[in-house]
């Protein structure tokens, strides 16, 4: 299959016939629809955000447009999720699309400020060149690429000269954001998709994907199945079966124990579900969503409880440390998961006494931290942990009996 140049750090971009964003020839998208025209286009295409939340972009646009003050547009390319590298890829390979998407949104809104926020982990030279080449008024700002630092309000805060941590969602950024203006914050890929949508139209956009979840999306694939280690980005239509996407990287689905869909705040799917189509409806029963397109494969040799505990430990460390329940609760949750993961090797502990306690404590802790923070960091952590309890229940039973069925 066609391959593209390595981006950096060994990241592979795997091309396919479905490429749209990745197949872009670099020519500027010149269309500048007015607000009504763009709104109709977004509604007809049913474009949803590609940054994780999957919110209908047209509705976001309308909410900002309805505000009294002159708005601002922020393209969020901070990509704080370590498992996601698609925004980095777009900034390097198709910066013009990102630029044009930003300009299209700014034009329709009559925005007074347009900023593309990139992380300090990224190479932004191509983006800056593409902006200068057409005299765009979009500004590129480099900010820290931390996990919670990529959250919408954290990005707006740092652009406003404040610490790069999330703030209270009230008032929302669409009401008061960058420079106290109503601010439309969109993901890098969403902006790029908008540019192509303006050029080719809604019918074209919907010609791939599913009826309810149309278009393509960029997936970042990571993890391993024994000797094959994946680390790359590919473009795929919504609704493509997961194993097909994983296969592009040589991953053997019979050699994996599960997949984490959506990143560290996503959900685990078992090996038996690897033929699940990657669209909102098909993933919903698993408590998962395409989100920002992260697919992290868990090697058959790895223990999913250990992997979950390790991720939870990372997430606890990434807390912005502003909100009591998150700051206090996530480390305890991670520690309890580590105890669960370590059960088989813990000879001192009797296999049956006290160990079911641990599962109850994990469940209890998830209820304690859920919804109780300024951002969705505790909620996402809870989602990932609960999905482990559901998906790897049998494996968990093994741990409680004193053995890891790995």
């Amino acid at each position: 299959m066609p391959q593209r140049p390595v981006i950096g750090g060994g990241l592979r971009v795997v091309g396919s016939v479905h490429d749209r964003l990745l197949a872009h020839d670099g020519s500027p998208v010149l269309g500048r629809p007015g607000l009504d025209e763009l709104s109709e286009l977004l509604a007809a295409a049913a474009l949803t955000g590609r940054g994780g939340a999957g919110f209908p972009t047209g509705r976001k646009l309308a909410t900002v447009a309805a505000q009294p003050r002159r708005p601002a547009v922020v393209v969020n390319a901070v990509e704080g999720e370590p498992l996601s590298r698609k925004d980095e890829t777009l900034i390097a390979l198709a910066p013009g699309l990102v630029r044009d998407g930003a300009e299209i949104l700014a034009g329709a809104l009559g925005a007074g400020r347009v900023v593309v926020a990139v992380s300090d982990r990224m190479e932004s030279a191509a983006l800056r060149r593409s902006i200068a080449a057409v005299g765009s008024r979009a500004q590129v700002r480099t900010v820290a690429g931390t996990f919670v630092g990529g959250q919408e309000t954290a990005v707006v805060n740092v652009l406003n000269g404040r610490p790069q941590v999330p703030s209270d969602p009230v008032p929302p950024t669409w009401e008061r954001g960058l420079e106290r203006r109503p601010t439309l914050v969109v993901n890098t890929e969403t902006a790029a998709q908008i540019a192509l949508l303006v050029r080719h139209g809604a019918a074209w956009f919907r010609s791939v994907g599913t009826a309810e979840d149309p278009g393509t999306f960029l997936a970042t694939v990571s993890g391993s199945s024994t000797e094959v280690v994946a680390d790359g980005v590919t473009e795929t239509p919504r609704g493509a079966p997961m194993h097909q996407v994983l296969g592009l990287f040589g991953l053997r689905t019979d050699l994996v124990s599960g997949v984490l869909v959506g990143g560290y705040h996503g959900a685990w799917l078992p090996a038996s579900a690897l033929n699940t189509p990657l669209d909102v409806a098909a993933l919903a029963p698993w408590g998962a969503a395409p989100g920002a397109g992260v697919l992290h494969v868990l090697d058959r040799r790895q223990c999913p409880i250990e992997a979950t505990a390790s991720i939870a430990g990372y997430l606890a460390g990434q807390s912005a440390r502003q909100c009591g329940p998150c700051l206090n609760g996530l480390p305890v949750l991670a520690h309890t998961l580590a105890l669960l993961a370590g059960l088989p090797g813990d000879a001192r502990r009797s296999p049956t006494r006290g160990s079911h306690d641990l599962v109850a404590r994990v469940e209890h802790l998830t209820r304690l931290v859920e919804y109780r923070g300024a951002c969705a960091h505790p909620d996402g952590t809870v989602r990932m942990v609960r999905s482990m309890l559901r998906t790897f229940g049998a494996h968990l039973e093994g741990h409680l009996a004193g053995t890891c069925p790995r």
């Binding site: 305890v332 109850a360 404590r361 209890h364 802790l365 209820r367 304690l368």
Partner: protein
């Protein structure tokens, strides 16, 4: 003005000053208690905060009367100018100046406190730190400026106030202060919300 009226004003001025000192001491101590987030037998956290604020408001009211009576009393030689500008007074300018500084700080602290919803929590807290400067000024002013300043009962009273605030500040500086008694807590089996809502 008659001699009786003069004496009454002077007494009122001193009296309100002394009581204001006591109330401000109470307010500082309870302010630290509020910050600690601990319940005080029967008052609760809410109660501690309420009494802290009530004491501060009463003290402010008494300071207003204190100033008013001294402005009217010719013996005090207090001018409006001296109420705001420190160290320019005719009667013991240095000690009186401490009082003036205290009034300046008191005005800012009380205004930001009453209007805290408008100035925001950061400004409110930042200005509130000034109370740690305000209180010593009040004590110094009381001892140095008041004509009872050297009398045993005022010194004893001031001593009690200093011990009270000193202990509270020492408590404030202890490492476990901000834990609100929650350090090392074990996660209970039941979520606290379960109490009163039986399955």
């Amino acid at each position: 003005m008659s001699a009786v009226a003069e004496q009454a004003l002077w007494a009122l001025g001193r009296g309100t000053g002394v009581v204001a000192l006591v109330l401000m001491t109470i307010s500082v101590v309870l302010g630290i208690a509020t910050r600690s987030g601990r319940e005080i037998a029967g008052w609760g956290r809410f109660g501690v905060n309420e009494i802290h604020r009530a004491a501060a408001l009463m003290a402010t009211g008494l300071v207003v009367v204190h100033l008013g009576s001294l402005l009217l009393d010719p013996y005090a030689q207090l001018r409006w100018f001296d109420v705001v500008v420190p160290f320019a007074g005719r009667f013991r300018p240095v000690w009186q100046g401490l009082g003036t500084l205290a009034v300046d700080l008191l005005v800012v602290v009380m205004l930001t406190s009453l209007l805290r919803r408008h100035v925001g929590p950061r400004v409110f807290r930042a200005v509130h730190w000034a109370t740690y400067a305000l209180w010593p000024l009040v004590v110094g002013h009381a001892i140095g400026n008041g004509t009872d300043g050297r009398s045993w009962w005022l010194l004893a009273l001031a001593g009690v106030c200093v011990v009270a605030v000193g202990s509270a500040v020492a408590w404030r500086l202890l490492p476990g202060f901000a834990d609100r008694g929650h350090r090392g807590v074990r996660i209970p089996r039941q979520v606290p919300a379960r109490a009163g809502r039986q399955a």
